[in-house]
């Protein structure tokens, strides 16, 4: 499904994206590969990034995380060459980024960062239209695309197009930032602590909305954060880095269940058992038949964490699981959850929940 990637280059041309991502899910995505990538700064003995190799499959969110100075942002910025790499190669859809002209490379990569970086002197429409304009889109097409994207990021009101960034809150501005990054429907996106400067409640909503959006458009995303909870929530896979090296690359659940070493265990936190509760929903468990007794009820999509919390507040040891229509599907007990998270084999598939 790499519609934008054929014809001799992954770079999104104006024409190929005309149909628009929102109306054509999974229009374009491309795998990203790091191959023995090094970044050394002159005058420093320790490499900022050392022998980094990993692959982000098409359409996945890969979170880079680690303590400050671990090289995660440097690694991210080498993809669109904001930071030139010293050695190794980074590929997008199998093509080396070094072989693509800088401006062309960057126009094909959505970039969202903590400081947002909207142009304060341009309206929301013109902000979103920046790269389309460089590609020679018509005014009408830019407006259409801007309208569509604002809808997609939850800022659908018609008059938002003509407003200036200063008229929006930080959270709304970052929604515009995401819309702008997706303007020409790039196959990949780089997100550098995109929600880091936003208050916790708004951040939570932005994360939820972004995950929903991602399910629709399926970009390949490298997402840098220093917040392990955000990593667990956003990542299909999480790459933990330390001193420029990759320490562990795994699904959130495996990372929490089986940290590769003490550093990772320490980094994910002593409460990693509790954190795993958020990775799974009641849906992922084998349900016991409903006993017919009166128990607190929770929809199947509830995380184990919320289900457990419900048991604790209601003084119950079981919850009734309900389907979308409210019909009872079965029930889950405390023991079932404990068994699930324990060291023994868990579900038959041994798989992280589908994102």
């Amino acid at each position: 499904m790499n519609a934008g990637l054929t014809n001799g280059g992954y770079v999104v041309s104006g024409e190929e994206t005309q149909a628009g991502a929102a109306t054509r899910p999974a229009a374009a995505a491309a795998p990203i590969g790091f191959v023995n990538v090094f970044k050394r700064y002159p005058g420093r003995t320790q490499a900022a990034v050392e022998d980094l190799s990993f692959e982000v499959p098409s359409g996945e969110i890969c979170v880079l995380i680690g303590p400050s100075g671990c090289g995660k942002t440097t690694a991210l910025k080498m993809v669109n060459r904001l930071v030139p790499m010293t050695d190794g190669d980074i590929t997008i859809d199998g093509k080396s980024v070094s072989g693509i002209e800088t401006a062309q490379l960057r126009r094909g990569i959505g970039y969202v960062f903590q400081q947002i970086g909207l142009f304060p002197h341009l309206t929301v429409e013109d902000n979103i239209g920046t790269v389309p304009r460089l590609l020679g889109w018509s005014k009408g097409r830019i407006r259409e695309r801007a309208r569509e994207l604002l809808e997609l990021v939850g800022l659908g009101a018609e008059d938002n197009l003509r407003r200036y960034p200063g008229e929006f809150s930080g959270g709304q501005q970052q929604r515009v930032g995401v819309a702008r990054a997706m303007a020409v429907d790039p196959p990949i996106m780089l997100m550098d602590e995109p929600f880091g400067a936003i208050d916790p409640i708004t951040r939570d909503r932005l994360q939820d909305d972004f995950l929903r959006l991602h399910r629709e458009v399926r970009k390949t995303i490298i997402f840098v954060t220093h917040d392990i909870d955000e990593a667990i929530k956003m990542g299909d896979r999480i790459a933990i880095m330390r001193d420029g090296r990759l320490v562990q690359l795994d699904t959130p659940d495996n990372l929490l269940a089986a940290p590769a070493d003490e550093f990772v265990a320490d980094f994910v936190g002593a409460d990693r058992g509790l954190k795993r509760l958020r990775v799974w929903t009641l849906n992922d468990l084998e349900l016991d038949p409903w006993s017919g007794t009166k128990e607190p009820a929770a929809p199947a999509g509830t995380t184990l964490r919320d289900a457990l919390s419900l048991m604790l507040t209601e003084g119950a040891t079981r919850v009734t699981v309900t389907g979308q229509d409210g019909a009872v599907m079965g029930c889950v007990s405390l023991e079932r959850i404990a068994a699930m998270l324990g060291p023994q084999p868990r579900t038959p598939e041994q798989q992280a929940p589908a994102p």
Binding site: L82, T102, R107, F113, Q115, G117, F119, T130, E167
Partner: protein, 249 residues
């Protein structure tokens, strides 16, 4: 009173504190008494005596500001990219700024003669400091996150300058432009000293002949011109920077 005999002006036909018999009609008595301000005489003589000087004044100012903006902008852009120019150019512009205006005009006449070019050299010199300093400050105040975004979106240096940096530097540039314009309108009156016309001419004439209405009217016109130009620039700035006034309620 008549110490300041301008180079280019023709000396008054009759020496001494003579009240000229300008104009005619009902204003004669006010002129004869050399009243503080003879409105009727001013109205009668506006078209012939003041309007051409006003046009000259606007031309002299506009050329000075135009050339000053080009030089200051070029210097500021260069200094912004290559840091070393800032100090030498600031010192140079500040030095020019400190030269007393009359001395500057007199001095330049020795070099380039009595003409508009001479006047403009001095007038341009006085605009450089404020325009350079403000333009550079404006360019430096562009938010770094906007620049990073521009870079990450693949804008070239030139595109970044034209679409991001200059528009965002506009408010301080316009502030500098307002000061430079008002200052230049005022200084241009002094340029009449070397006979290039402008509203300074009737001021000098009026001082020389002692006819109050003439220099009060010319001085008043210079003030009105300065206020009008400033007002126009404020309007222009508002139109050019609509984002600056729009903030989240």
């Amino acid at each position: 009173m008549s110490v300041l005999a301008p180079f280019g002006s023709t000396p008054s036909p009759s020496p001494g504190p003579v009240i000229p018999t300008f104009g005619g009609g009902g204003s004669q008595s006010c002129v004869a008494k050399n009243g503080q301000f003879c409105g009727a005489w001013f109205v009668d003589n506006f078209g012939s005596r003041f309007a051409p000087r006003l046009v000259e004044h606007i031309e002299l100012t506009a050329i000075a500001i135009g050339v000053g903006v080009v030089i200051a902008l070029a210097a500021a852009l260069f200094a912004h990219r290559h840091g070393w120019l800032e100090t030498p150019f600031s010192l140079f512009a500040a030095f020019l700024y400190t030269i007393p205006a009359l001395a500057f005009f007199e001095l330049m006449v020795q070099v380039t003669g009595i003409n508009r070019f001479t006047a403009e050299i001095a007038l341009v010199s006085y605009t450089l400091l404020i325009l350079f300093v403000n333009t550079l400050a404006g360019l430096r105040a562009v938010p770094p996150d906007a620049l990073e975004a521009a870079q990450a979106m693949g804008l070239s240096q030139r595109q970044t300058l034209l679409r991001v940096e200059l528009p965002l530097a506009l408010p301080p540039i316009m502030a500098g432009l307002r000061i430079a314009t008002v200052t230049t309108i005022s200084l241009t009156t002094v340029a009449a000293y070397i006979g290039v016309g402008g509203l300074g001419q009737p001021i000098f004439d009026g001082i020389q002949t002692g006819f109050k209405t003439e220099f009060i009217a010319a001085g008043g016109l210079a003030i009105v011109l300065a206020l009008a130009a400033d007002g126009l620039l404020v309007v222009a700035q508002r139109l050019l920077t609509p984002w600056a006034r729009r903030r989240r309620a």
